[in-house]
Symmetry: D2
Subunit: 347 residues, 4 copies
Amino acid sequence: MNNSFGEQFRVTTFGESHGPALGAIVDGVPAGLELDEAYIQKALDRRKPGQSVFTTPRKEADAVEILSGVFEGRTTGTPVALLIRNQDQRSRDYGDLAEVFRPGHADYGFFRKYGIRDYRGGGRSSGRETAARVAAGAIAAKYLQEKYGIVIRAWTEAVAGISGEKTDFDFIEKNALRAADPDRYPAMEEAVRNAIAELDSVGGIVSCVIEGVPAGLGEPVFDKLDALLAHAMLSLGAVKGIEFGDGFAAAGLRGSVNNDKMSPEGFLSNHAGGILGGISTGAPITFRIAVKPTPSIRQEQQTVDQENNPRTVTVQGRHDPCICPRIVPVVEAMASLVLADLTLRCH
Amino acid sequence: MNNSFGEQFRVTTFGESHGPALGAIVDGVPAGLELDEAYIQKALDRRKPGQSVFTTPRKEADAVEILSGVFEGRTTGTPVALLIRNQDQRSRDYGDLAEVFRPGHADYGFFRKYGIRDYRGGGRSSGRETAARVAAGAIAAKYLQEKYGIVIRAWTEAVAGISGEKTDFDFIEKNALRAADPDRYPAMEEAVRNAIAELDSVGGIVSCVIEGVPAGLGEPVFDKLDALLAHAMLSLGAVKGIEFGDGFAAAGLRGSVNNDKMSPEGFLSNHAGGILGGISTGAPITFRIAVKPTPSIRQEQQTVDQENNPRTVTVQGRHDPCICPRIVPVVEAMASLVLADLTLRCH
Amino acid sequence: MNNSFGEQFRVTTFGESHGPALGAIVDGVPAGLELDEAYIQKALDRRKPGQSVFTTPRKEADAVEILSGVFEGRTTGTPVALLIRNQDQRSRDYGDLAEVFRPGHADYGFFRKYGIRDYRGGGRSSGRETAARVAAGAIAAKYLQEKYGIVIRAWTEAVAGISGEKTDFDFIEKNALRAADPDRYPAMEEAVRNAIAELDSVGGIVSCVIEGVPAGLGEPVFDKLDALLAHAMLSLGAVKGIEFGDGFAAAGLRGSVNNDKMSPEGFLSNHAGGILGGISTGAPITFRIAVKPTPSIRQEQQTVDQENNPRTVTVQGRHDPCICPRIVPVVEAMASLVLADLTLRCH
Amino acid sequence: MNNSFGEQFRVTTFGESHGPALGAIVDGVPAGLELDEAYIQKALDRRKPGQSVFTTPRKEADAVEILSGVFEGRTTGTPVALLIRNQDQRSRDYGDLAEVFRPGHADYGFFRKYGIRDYRGGGRSSGRETAARVAAGAIAAKYLQEKYGIVIRAWTEAVAGISGEKTDFDFIEKNALRAADPDRYPAMEEAVRNAIAELDSVGGIVSCVIEGVPAGLGEPVFDKLDALLAHAMLSLGAVKGIEFGDGFAAAGLRGSVNNDKMSPEGFLSNHAGGILGGISTGAPITFRIAVKPTPSIRQEQQTVDQENNPRTVTVQGRHDPCICPRIVPVVEAMASLVLADLTLRCH
């Protein structure tokens, strides 16, 4: 296992979907930062379930408690421990889930790796694990905003193949999918409703733009800024790809077009997405991630059990038909952790 | 700086494009592995310049010397140090390059980060740095092949927007672009020749498939197998994106289609690219990376100098018009390093 | 800050003396280990305050809760989070302690390092922090005992300059100082009583012997077994020195005497303390640590305040007059963490 | 293996006693530091063999070459690679040494750990490995001296049980043992000559004092300054113990005596050796290490071979009868690496 992320600003997380609690220890938080539970709670509330018709109705307050590292409202330089109790722990009957592997889930890999697994709601592989990341990332985001004026914003760019064409940041928190294009939103929402009606789920694309990053962040040669961001984003179970700036489209461009020319006023374009040679250039950092459709669907699917016998499984309960809206705050949290760590590694 | 990669099988590299030498220390190589310079040299020869009309004619033998860790033809468990001398060190006149920033290059970021830079051929940010990765990766690949039967193969899937449609592994080493589709190759080659004629460069896409990986590799939650592979690939300066399995296409699929159903004979499809929840499933691991067009072009480009005065720059000398063919062995090397490390971290 | 210890069996701790809680996340615990709270509680009870007239009467149940990583009585391979609530949090009047630096304590260094400090009972620098180490170490000890039959035992060898001459393991838990020599114990006890009567404290020496360690543990060159044990022991605030085998006495010996000769039955002596070249030899590992006298004494001492004005301070409340008996289980815990980590790094 | 030391100023070393070369990669060296080979060579010359009648006459120039990281006389922020070729590589007849284990050496542990060993002069376990540490440490020392005015000085305090009583820094480089007490030196020298005459060796104690360290260095709780220094010193094969400040003597003191009182002018004593709670206080840092007698002696010693048959061995060739004088520069180098790393981890 490796449940730690970062070198000088390092978060270590724990917790299973239906265990007693989730949480994190955030080590390396600079001393003197104003911090309280109310601030972190706001970040957690953006991720918690039951926010709309498009998220699982599971009831979880996701109330966070700060256990250490804060004295008289300020961080002291000692590790900040964060605790989130699970409320939904009723030992329901998991029936088949205790024996079979759900297609598209981590069940099989965990079983092959450890020879044992906590099958309750996916255990450690549940998306619920990201609550701890969001709580820790909120501390990083506050530090970055106050010290550098860095602002990190993510949104749902596409759902079910329907892409937004403009980015209205004010619209993001006003719709159930965290989409940024009011005009394309109705089509996106309809696509999700259709999927729900057909006991299915949809994938999408989440975009992120980071402004205010000073030039010089990123540690060549292996811990390039884009390498660490890619590591962070691919550490999310539902993410299947990432691209920076023009990304895969750049593969079809010529150098004369893709190179961002410079003037005394700065870069004349941003095909690179704010990163050259793994180091931030001061231009906005832009990346997009591919989010796969929710693997939990109410259709009967062919699978096997732990003895490799042929079985079928139908995942009961209501799950998010599209992960995008809830992964948005997680993407912002992970990007915050990467940048906070690099600012403290930078010399 | 962070010039180390991996935890239990860890490579640390050094060297500038026009400094005395490049090299690596490979720590954690299991004892008893047969190893000699001839084997590593073969891997280096696949990456070295001057192999075809499509690679820079720079003369470098890239001859490797093993300085430690091998006794009587076998590794001893002590670190294996590898040395590659640079031959092309003539102190030529770099003219403008000492003062201006080449568009699309790391020059600007390095200067802003360190306040000083080795401008000779890009110094540490030169693609030449990857020679050390290839030498180290060859040791990892040998270990993986002999202990697990793991085979890693990469190839150029697309160039200048022209994609291959089939994968003929035998063809890869028989063409100047390391393309895998003999039918589409002529069109790819023509596209590159046109770019050269117009003093320009092209990008492309490199694919990789890894067979023989046992189920269970990958360390949840942060060091997932795909997270580490993404970290490894994005640590290559020219790479702008990565996707696993169906990748970005999966964002447009429904769960009922994207989920790989299972039978006693194994997975019935491989949309996931051999990784679920960050752990290998035993299915072939597949990923694609976006390679940007070579930033060094012989056209005059607008830029600035270190005092932020407006300047223009024309990069002299002949450079690879397309990086894909030479990045192929580097992709295989980095994938080898990731897997070797995980096999030694796996319990 | 660095609140993590170990590479493959890694513990990360948090918590202040008078904050809400202390705890640890133990990452890398092999799956399938039987574990419950009652087992860990036993280890914690050995360290907790109020066990005898020679330990502070502070009331702390030190009740541990397992928050994750255990399912149906066995570890799952996911991180094991441990929580210990502080009971003694009453916001008493700390008076001078909020401004002055206690001689012999970490107050001054923390203030100079962070510019802010949690002065309540020493905050993070309190010996109370070791409760989290003991809880985590208990898991490591169980793994070592069950998988390798490794047994780690520490005891108070000397107090106030009075040294034990024999080692009766059965006696250790039967006396207030965890001394191992019943004959010398009365003199030790009297020395401590005298110090108490004179509002003073005493130091001592703690010995540790580890049996059952297989040959081959220890990672040359920097993570030698003795280097890691020294790192672990000196990470305890009250420890001022460590020696292995004959230690400082070996500095006065000749090679012909100090070298441990070998026979088919094994080593004929153990001057080396079971470690040669940083690698375990299979012989018992022995080391001794110097424990300074408790810095908290009820005598008036000369010091300064945060504005560097001359002040005096008298530390109120009853503190352990000798740290040795309570550091014994902490030494065993830290040794367990070092060995568990090395067994998982060893290939 | 773990051949890397440090987090932000990290050295990775390689090389065997009779392999082609030794060396190091120093990562994290701040950009802009003036550096050339002549400076590093001076440090190496202090450690190299053949300096006096008391060191092995093995001929090694220990000439260092800088392979990377320096441009126009200054560091660039990229890794500095250092190469030291071995001259003495003649494949002599190692006879018994290829099969038997030398008492007091790492031979047995290496064989049990790796199942294979480079028996030529101890291979990786040879003290010769420390040449790479001295070269790397010289860079750290230069950085510390220029940026903080930190001065690190070590010397031989005792040999064969004969202790120096005063410390004359000017005398250290003027005698074959690097002793600091001119009056006691003759007795020390005689003790060593007697040991040589009797085909034996002697141990000793090396002291170190570090001045100019700012308050606040050291990372609680696990990477305390003394914990890292202990780790560094015990990573030297011949070191069997370390103590800070009063060390083991403090175990016999009372708190009222051992506590260093403070005044506006600073600490009134330095029993603590400049470290409290693992953090530097600004007072001089002092520690002492126990160095065992050289295990290589020309007397016949009882041992076993790789098949565990009883054998005897007499180590041929002339070896240092006392390791102290040559370990002195290594102690300074390791202390430099610890401090340089902490200054870069300090926030």
